[in-house]
């Protein structure tokens, strides 16, 4: 309809003589439209307001001190660390889609891997801010790094918090490199189609002269495989190291060896939920239905089902272990989680993470976009509550009853959490506007038209 395409230039069938040209036009027009539709402006206005609120609340905390949040004794790790683990977890799905599904030769990943990787970068940015601002003396975070200094002191490398610095730093760097490397051929596409000089210059600068030479593709492919193979153990190790923040302590409910796989499964679950939450509207709004098909949505729902069930199994094992151990403190911790002061949060978590994804057993539900979207949102809610339950219930009810205390968040806590979403979505909307949001070269590479028919020798 003419009216619809006036409002949203991304709608309408992709044009092109060949299948490859259709893919190029479908994606490139998103970055090339001079003015995106009004909805984009509204969305970015909201998200940047929230992002400003984020930085404002951080500034307030710097000025006023950590007490501006609800952090107190005994719950000294309140929402900031919950948010940190939450965001790092979300980032893991992007690497899984890029690296692990690549190693498993799942060609369907090519439609979603680019913006999943972008989601990873932005989620890790949001995550990495929290450890830096929650340290009480935020002008000293350089103490976490092994920089020679006049005190002749070094960080303590036995500490999981120090491991975090290296793990999250490595994860961010590797994800950024992987994301950029994947974008080089597509930036070349945008460069070659760009008409305005500034665009041409900037895309050209980023595309570093990529011209699609097969000799270069050969090394590029090897590099891609190497990065995928490196990123796979990396993503498993990063969230394991984050879980060590809790697992290496002695608190009941924290001190358990199930944490690394439990956290990783939860991270993948939450991350895929975020991919779904982004992909379902994006494919509609940006006209990507031919690339991100119902098959993709179904696959993502299936992965959510698997990982959600794993998370549910982990909950079961935690409760069972607490009972089987007959350890007074461990048993109480889990009894308290299910029936104590935080029971409302605990049951929200179990419902959203273990029960809600069970609806994806049914094909009708998997192919129902509103339900899949709602499932994704609930999964994110559930994953946030899981981090909250783990961190705050164990702290608020530990060994000595006289040390107990109930954690209450302050308005600054709410603002910081909401603001982090604002930062995330602002970066994501900017990414959609200016960068290739689907990996065009990879999609073309797995298209049937790319198949080479050989007559003489097998390739």
């Amino acid at each position: 309809m003419a009216a619809a395409t006036d409002l949203n230039p991304y709608q309408g069938p992709p044009v092109g003589e060949t299948a490859f040209a259709k893919v190029t036009n479908n994606i490139a027009r998103i970055a090339e439209t001079p003015r995106p539709p009004r909805a984009w402006y509204i969305a970015i206005a909201i998200s940047s307001t929230l992002a400003l609120a984020f930085f404002g609340s951080i500034g307030w905390v710097f000025w006023d001190g950590i007490g501006a949040w609800g952090n107190m004794i005994p719950v000294a790790w309140g929402w900031p660390i919950v948010n940190f683990v939450f965001w790092v977890g979300i980032g893991h799905a992007g690497t899984l889609i890029s690296a692990i599904l690549f190693l498993f030769r799942q060609d369907w990943r090519t439609a979603i891997n680019r913006f999943a990787e972008a989601m990873t970068i932005f989620a890790v940015i949001c995550a990495g801010i929290f450890p830096g601002i929650h340290i009480g003396r935020p002008w000293l975070p350089y103490w976490m790094f092994p920089i020679p200094n006049q005190m002749q002191m070094w960080p303590q490398f036995r500490s999981p918090l120090e491991w975090d610095v290296f793990a999250v730093g490595t994860y961010f760097t590797v994800s950024l490199l992987f994301w950029y490397m994947g974008m080089i051929p597509d930036l070349g596409t945008l460069r070659d189609r760009a008409v305005k000089p500034i665009r041409r210059f900037l895309y050209g600068l980023l595309a570093i002269g990529w011209r699609g030479s097969s000799r270069q593709w050969h090394r590029y492919e090897r590099a891609y495989l190497l990065l995928a193979a490196l990123a796979t153990p990396l993503v498993l190790s990063v969230h394991s190291v984050v879980s060590f923040d809790m697992a290496t302590s002695q608190l009941p409910g924290w001190h358990t060896t199930v944490f690394p796989p439990y956290f990783v499964a939860g991270a993948i679950y939450g991350g895929f939920a975020m991919v779904v939450v982004l992909a379902v509207p994006a494919r509609q709004f940006f006209g990507l239905k031919h690339l991100i098909t119902m098959w993709h949505v179904e696959n993502m729902a299936k992965i959510m089902l698997v990982t959600g069930s794993l998370v549910g199994y982990s909950y079961l094992m935690e409760f069972w272990t607490a009972w089987y151990s007959h350890d007074h403190f461990e048993s109480f911790t889990f009894y308290n989680r299910a029936f104590g002061t935080y029971a409302w949060a605990c049951w929200t978590m179990i419902t959203c993470n273990a029960f809600v994804p069970q609806m994806f057993w049914f094909k009708k539900v998997r192919r129902n976009l509103p339900l899949v979207f709602i499932g994704g949102v609930l999964a994110n809610v559930g994953m946030w509550f899981e981090r909250f339950i783990i961190i705050d219930t164990s702290l608020s009810r530990d060994f000595l009853p006289t040390s107990w205390g109930y954690f209450l968040p302050t308005p600054i806590d709410y603002l910081t959490l909401a603001g982090s979403f604002g930062l995330f979505f602002t970066l994501f909307l900017l990414f959609c506007r200016y960068l290739p949001i689907v990996a065009m070269a990879e999609v073309k590479g797995v298209h049937p038209s790319a198949h080479v028919h050989t007559h003489e020798e097998r390739s």
Binding site: G169, G209, A223, A441, V452
Partner: protein, 411 residues
């Protein structure tokens, strides 16, 4: 070489031929063409595609790259570097004792070592790939061919360079025509695009380079000079406090010390201990002959004295006060020559010694006996003295001293 040929549409200078460019619509056509060119023995040629074409590597005779080996070396450096970092900082340079754990333990150091391995490998993967590929390369003769812009869209190209030994303008052209390209074109060396940096960029770079030297200059000047002003301290952090600390100098006092000793005669609250009798065992300057009024002569006091004597005195003086406690026996057996035997409390001179003096001996010690004043409160010390008197009396007691009612149980 086609120096003599003039390209229509090109400007003043004659540009030499860079190569011949063939365009194809399908990857299959490209692969077939590549095989022909490979078999013809060309070395300086390449194919171009919007995505990596399956089978193009053997079709072109591309050898596997050494990139994986470079990455392996980088990974090993990262691994070793991570271990070295942790060992050197926590075990060698500043030995850090954490809960009595060993200075270096590999399990604790694995996470960071692992991450460093991945980090070094990944960074090397990208940058080695770019370097091996000769990227960034912002300038290429192919950029002048408008049709070549479709290489990142949906077309496939093959170019044989003129510098190849087997290149011949007409023969190579004929070979390429046989592969049925959509378009076969000449690519000329670029004599059109200026290879000078834009003026504005040059000026900006010069300005930035000069400006970048300013901080170093300021640092050099600061290192070479002294300052009278206090340094800028952005976050006070209670770092410099105006009060005088214990070891600081202060010329206000004659001995130049900020820390002042106690004024003689200073007594802490509650420690006046004015009662000479109770605290020092003296009455009017002489040893007390009686017990202070705070220590009643009751069964309770005696029992307390017995218990305290058993705790503090029996190790040396023995249970009966004869100087034969376990410590004394052991010391005598060791015969080191340094032992002064504990007194036998039942000796005559101690039986007549005033209780105040006995109290003083317990409080201040005597010969090898340490002062028990700090350990035993005053009333307890008096109770011990009372018990001592009971021991001394029992040493020279007769049956007539025992109450009549209990004489039967002794016989």
């Amino acid at each position: 070489m086609s120096d003599t040929k003039k390209e229509a549409g090109k400007a003043v200078t004659e540009a030499p031929l860079h190569g011949l460019l063939a365009e194809y619509e399908t990857p299959t056509a490209l692969v077939e063409a590549a095989k022909r060119v490979r078999d013809a023995g060309f070395k300086k040629w390449d194919t171009y595609s919007p995505f990596p074409v399956h089978g193009i590597d053997p079709a072109m005779g591309i050898k596997p790259t050494i990139l994986p080996w470079i990455v392996l070396v980088a990974g090993l450096i990262g691994c070793g570097g991570g271990l070295l970092l942790q060992w050197w900082t926590n075990t060698y340079d500043y030995k850090w004792l954490i809960s009595g754990k060993p200075f270096f333990s590999i399990p604790a150091n694995i996470p960071i070592t692992f991450e460093m391995t991945i980090l070094f490998s990944a960074v090397t993967t990208l940058f080695a790939m770019l370097i091996l590929n000769g990227l960034p390369r912002h300038h290429h003769p192919l950029d002048l061919k408008k049709r070549f812009a479709r290489v990142t869209d949906d077309r496939f190209f093959l170019m044989v360079e003129a510098v190849d030994p087997k290149f011949d303008e007409s023969d190579t052209r004929e070979l390429l025509e046989e592969t049925k390209p959509v378009v076969l074109d000449e690519v000329l060396e670029d004599r059109v695009t200026s290879d000078k940096l834009p003026r504005g960029l040059v000026y900006a770079l010069v300005v930035i380079s000069v400006a970048a030297l300013v901080p170093f200059g300021l640092i050099a000047r600061a290192r070479a000079s002294t300052m009278r002003k206090t340094r800028i301290h952005i976050i006070p952090d209670m770092d410099s406090q105006t009060e005088y600390k214990a070891q600081r100098m202060l010329d206000f006092f004659p001995d130049d010390r900020a820390m002042r000793p106690q004024i003689p005669g200073t007594i802490a609250v509650g420690q006046l201990d004015a009662d000479d009798h109770l605290y020092r065992g003296k009455v009017n300057g002489a040893w007390a002959l009686t017990f202070p009024k705070q220590v009643p002569a009751t069964e309770a006091t005696m029992k307390r004295g017995q218990q305290r004597f058993g705790i503090y005195c029996t190790p040396c003086h023995g249970v009966a006060g004869n100087g034969d406690g376990m410590v004394a026996k052991r010391a005598t057996a060791l015969a080191q020559g340094t032992w002064v035997p504990p007194a036998n409390l039942n000796q005559d001179y101690l039986r007549v010694m005033p209780v105040g003096q006995l109290f003083n001996t317990i409080t201040r010690g005597i010969r090898n006996m340490p002062a028990y004043g700090p350990q035993i409160p005053p009333k307890d010390r008096w109770a011990i003295v009372m018990y001592m008197r009971a021991l001394q009396r029992s040493h020279k007691a007769t049956i007539n001293d025992v109450p009549a009612a209990e004489r039967g149980s002794l016989k």
